[in-house]
């Protein structure tokens, strides 16, 4: 035979061509196949979560509590900070004037200071007024009668704008003629700020530690899951599943654990807020003010849930990679 029919030639060549090309073409390829494989992994992961509901719930619970801790600390700090800002605004400087100044001098000083930038109001308090307030506070009205000549000096109550440079204004006030002393009882506010800052750092530290904890807890759960499904993994590998395909349901599981845990944490947080609202209101009433607890910002809530899910994914990734290598069917 000198001629070779085309069909036969192609028939002979085909297996060779196939042999040289990648074996990857076996099985469906493309985006739709990819979607289908992911759908399979997703369903498989949900199935494994549902198969051991108690164990899954416990993992989600641990993650939830772990996430709730730094989140609630952060929330408490937010509220304290808001409250202290509120107090700062109410706070005034007390400028004690020299004894025996004339009314006109005091008036001039009052009007001059009130023109300063950052000064919202200047409120002069006469010695009589001061004594009246004092005796009312102390509860002995007789003081006024006893002390005919009031020993108290004039005091200017200076209210500053919120973000003003308190220290420089205090220094400037001190150089004014007739000013004896400038007082600002700010120390406790500064301390509160310092404490809040410390707690803020602590919250971040705690968040970091507990995020690691979340990864470890979820990683451990996934590790047990891998051990329980060892047989399934081996069979999958035997029928030609890629490592990525075998790994994927476990990664989804880790993601779910983290996501659900994050959601639980937010739920716990709102439950805590709800239970605290009553006592906080009563406390506010005793100060004749209304304190409203603020909830976490939507962004924080979203970040917490998403972050938790990502750390779940990370934990699963670490655990499953380690174990699949060890099983290696």
């Amino acid at each position: 035979m000198t001629t070779c029919p085309n069909g036969k030639l192609i028939g002979l060549l085909r297996p060779m061509v196939k042999g040289k090309r990648s074996w990857r073409e076996v099985g469906a390829t493309g985006f739709r196949a990819w979607i289908r494989r992911h759908a399979f992994s997703l369903l498989s992961s949900l199935g494994s979560l549902a198969r051991y509901p108690l164990a899954s719930l416990m993992t989600v619970g641990v993650v939830g509590f772990a996430i709730a801790m730094p989140l609630s600390l952060q929330l408490a700090l937010d509220n304290i900070e808001r409250l202290s800002r509120h107090w700062e605004r109410l706070d005034t400087l007390s400028v004690f004037l020299d004894q025996g100044l004339e009314q006109a001098t005091i008036d001039r000083l009052t009007s001059r200071i009130s023109t300063w930038e950052d000064v919202i109001a200047v409120d002069p308090i006469s010695p009589e007024q001061g004594l009246g307030e004092l005796s009312a506070q102390l509860g002995f009205a007789a003081a006024e009668e006893v002390l005919e000549d009031s020993p108290l000096p004039w005091v200017l109550e200076v209210t500053l704008a919120t973000d003003s440079d308190r220290a420089s204004i205090m220094a400037r006030l001190g150089t004014e003629q007739g000013v004896a002393e400038v007082l600002a009882d700010l120390q406790w506010l500064e301390r509160l700020d310092a404490i809040a800052e410390l707690l803020q750092q602590l919250a971040w530290l705690l968040a970091g530690l507990l995020a690691g904890g979340v990864a470890v807890v979820i990683g451990n759960t996934i590790r047990l899951d891998v051990q329980n499904r060892r047989e399934e993994i081996e069979v999958l590998a035997l029928v030609g599943a890629t490592a990525a395909f075998i790994r994927r349901p476990f990664l989804y599981s880790g993601f779910w654990y983290g996501l659900l845990g994050g959601m639980l944490a937010c739920l716990l947080l709102y439950a805590g807020l709800f239970s605290l609202q009553g006592p906080v209101n009563r406390l506010g009433q005793s100060y004749a003010a209304t304190f409203q607890l603020i909830g976490p910002a939507p962004l924080i809530t979203m970040l917490a849930i998403l972050g938790s899910a990502l750390f779940g994914l990370l934990g699963a990734w670490l655990a499953v990679g380690q174990h699949l290598r060890r099983i290696d069917p």
């Binding site: 060779m16 076996v26 469906a28 739709r32 069979v235 999958l236 035997l238 029928v239 030609g240 599943a241």
Partner: protein, 232 residues
């Protein structure tokens, strides 16, 4: 399709499972692999499906040296080989349908297509009415046939079976072998490890005899075409 060239396999610990094994199995051919237990039958099959790698020599599958296939390519090689195990290796917590569908799910085949092909495969092994059952509810023979359905579902060009009739009664064994013969007639290359000598003799197919890790005999197919005959 499958070619062994001076293949040796030594397991860690010094057990020599195969030594200097050479044979060829053409596309569409069918052969039995026989020998006492421990002769190396399972190891030989494992080398083809890359469940083990040879210590020396070359295993060529579909024109490619299996020993040189990198890890990432192994799954794609395995998809071209249907493997049937003596212990079935079915997932007992998944229905028969899902067990058989596994290779297609891995390949990302659409559900409609999966349904169609799983039904066809189950029909072929006579288990269409058992698709909703779990493997432990089935008899040993039925489980073995589920394993076959799973092995053929993705239409691999090669079918390997390790003692598929290992714990079945003679009637069922003969039936199962008929299934393999049918598959072979559709063009699938079939290699079956078995020590059921009486059954193998009756079928008259090519027989490779292993002993102590070497091929000691290669009996050709007892039919008109003796083309595939090779020396042992």
């Amino acid at each position: 399709m499958i070619s062994f060239q001076q293949v040796s396999k030594r397991y860690p610990g010094g057990v020599q499972a195969l030594s200097d094994v050479s044979f060829e199995l053409g596309a569409g051919e069918m052969a039995f692999l026989t020998g006492r237990s421990g002769a190396g039958k399972s190891t030989l099959l494992k080398l083809i499906a890359l469940l083990e790698r040879p210590t020396r020599g070359q295993v060529v599958f579909d024109g490619r040296n299996v020993g040189k296939v990198n890890r990432r390519q192994i799954p794609y090689l395995r998809r071209r080989i249907g493997v049937i195990f003596q212990d079935h290796r079915l997932l007992s917590d998944k229905r028969v349908f899902d067990n058989v569908a596994l290779p297609l799910m891995i390949a990302g085949v659409s559900f409609g297509e999966i349904q169609r092909r799983v039904r066809a495969a189950l029909d072929k092994v006579g288990l269409l009415d058992k698709e909703k059952m779990y493997p432990p509810m089935l008899s040993g023979g039925e489980q073995q046939r589920v394993g076959i359905a799973r092995a053929i579902i993705a239409r691999p060009p090669v079918l390997l079976a390790d003692e598929p009739t290992g714990n079945l009664d003679p009637g069922l064994s003969a039936e199962l072998m008929q299934t393999f013969l049918q598959l072979n007639q559709t063009g699938v290359t079939v290699l079956i490890a078995s020590h059921d000598l009486a059954l193998i003799k009756r079928l008259g197919q090519r027989v490779l005899v292993l002993d102590g890790g070497s091929i000691i005999d290669d009996l050709p197919k007892r039919q008109a075409d003796r083309a595939s005959e090779t020396d042992g």
